[in-house]
Symmetry: C2
Subunit: 320 residues, 2 copies
């Protein structure tokens, strides 16, 4: 899948080739850049790697030598398959049945699997074996699924539709849904601790610490609370700074955790971890910008979730 | 506090003296045993350590040599102070304020701190330094606080009173309460991973794995779901076996996690861990039996929570 001659990310000589992160960045950029010569809004962090112009030159080189072309879509489909299979095995159907059904309903529903794939790609990027990051990749998807179940609850966004299906609490009831959310969070940490093989225990402890911090009161949860405080108050004139706080915490923190976990498990040096942290944080923010735009430009059927809901709720978004 | 001549638990020569677990057991036993000559309902597991008769002889020896008497109440008060101080530092008041206020409201409210103290005592019992287990002890209380907030939610037990004060969701709203619960759970794992010092990382990974398993879909959450399934259905004729399943999971699993975490961090051998696992599981079950009896024999003011609620909800208890 990955051309062996492509050393796009020259972090250190032993780095394995991986163009996934570059292509993810380009996919996000493509929503905003009319021509490849424009400066990316993320040029500050991108300068750690390549400028947009350099990316374009790289693209041209790839186009000129089709044998080494990176097939982004095929890569994503392959990794989604790997992750889905691992998720299915990580949360098997067992007693209590209704609890595990609720956990699996949200966990195995059709999703982009961005966080798990960022984790696997970051591990590979720094020269690690992808398999060492697979349990953490699954854990990230468990946490993501939990946060979506949580967001949809009647006491939160009160959303009945998620990934093209009725939300978890609509199917299983609010009490089972809240409980299954806690169970997924606990299972995520258990899976990292028991499933990660071939890595020094100190690195596993580091992953637990990074992940727990970034999803907790300093990360995802902080963003959720700030978002709730603004929701429905018609704060459409909220400053970009405040909006950025919400999305850096609510969305980007999990992408950051994904890249950092993969890098740590792949054996990255501290400066490599920090570069990937910076990259992934802003890629996560960009993901949210795209999501906000899609929320008002796409139909519910295309999105698989209730569209225009932020507008209805009077929430500030990048679109507003 | 602990008499240096008392080697009650002769697990191995290097064991430090600790009579806490023995006294905890006796405190629980005292609810049921009219005379010290009776057999404990937990005699099977107790035989790993001492029979009730042996305990009584030990008591007599202690009474005869008052200089070495173990002051259970003073020990508990001292450890509660240590734990409370550590909890206060572990979850400081910071932004977002409402989130941290909600976390601290439940975490720092007056509680028995049984789980943290079992953790510290187990660590000391196997020869470890109590300070190595303090972050895990705090994590256990965070998880316990989270589970109480969760239990009290309108979609769960819908309880307005907890530890003598309005429940968390009554004060902060359901949305903040659910979110603060997730944040406490995440903080628990972060605190174990970042706060534990002087222990091989492999043992920290083991604690994360044990704790996550015992509070998740195989432990506490499984018990909560089984309890909810039975609640309000008037299943007062439920068999003891089913009732035991609920309480072994909902209550005893966290006590088990406490003892196992302390033992692992204290450097226990595998057979010592398994003995403490067995002891603590049944001590936890006994705790629930006592709780069920108190629920119908004590007033709300004495309990600091809504009393008789299981009876009203039509839930089966050991009393029924």
């Amino acid at each position: 899948m990955i051309p062996s001659t492509n050393f796009m990310y020259r972090i250190r000589p032993r780095s394995n080739p991986s163009t996934f992160l570059h292509h993810l960045n380009q996919t996000l950029n493509s929503f905003f850049l009319p021509s490849s010569g424009s400066r990316s809004p993320f040029s500050d962090f991108a300068s750690d790697y390549q400028t947009v112009d350099e990316c374009r030159r790289q693209e041209i080189r790839e186009e000129e030598s089709p044998g080494s072309e990176f097939d982004f879509k095929a890569y994503m489909l392959e990794k989604i398959g790997v992750v889905n299979q691992a998720l299915d095995a990580a949360v098997p159907l067992r007693d209590p049945l209704i609890l595990h059904e609720a956990m699996r309903y949200s966990l195995l529903s059709q999703g982009k699997r961005i966080c798990p794939i960022v984790c696997l790609a970051a591990c590979q990027l720094v020269g690690g074996d992808e398999s060492t990051a697979l349990p953490s990749a699954c854990a990230l998807e468990m946490i993501h699924a939990m946060s979506l179940m949580h967001d949809d609850l009647p006491c939160m966004d009160n959303d009945d539709l998620r990934r093209g299906r009725p939300s978890n609490h609509v199917v299983f009831g609010e009490h089972v849904s809240v409980t299954a959310g806690y169970a997924l969070l606990a299972r995520a940490f258990e899976h990292i601790a028991t499933g990660t093989k071939g890595v020094a225990p100190g690195r596993i402890v580091r992953v637990v610490s990074e992940l727990a911090r970034l999803i907790g009161a300093e990360g995802v949860v902080a963003g959720q609370v700030a978002d709730l405080k603004c929701g429905g108050n018609g704060q459409l004139d909220m400053g970009v700074e405040q909006l950025e706080y919400i999305h850096l915490h609510k969305t980007a923190a999990l992408v950051e955790a994904s890249a950092v976990a993969g890098a740590v498990l792949g054996g990255a040096r501290e400066e490599e971890i920090e570069r990937l942290r910076r990259y992934s944080r802003y890629a996560g923010l960009m993901f949210q910008v795209v999501d906000d735009v899609l929320d008002v430009t796409k139909s519910c059927a295309e999105l698989g979730k209730t569209c225009g809901k932020d507008l209805v709720a009077g929430k500030a978004t990048y679109r507003s």
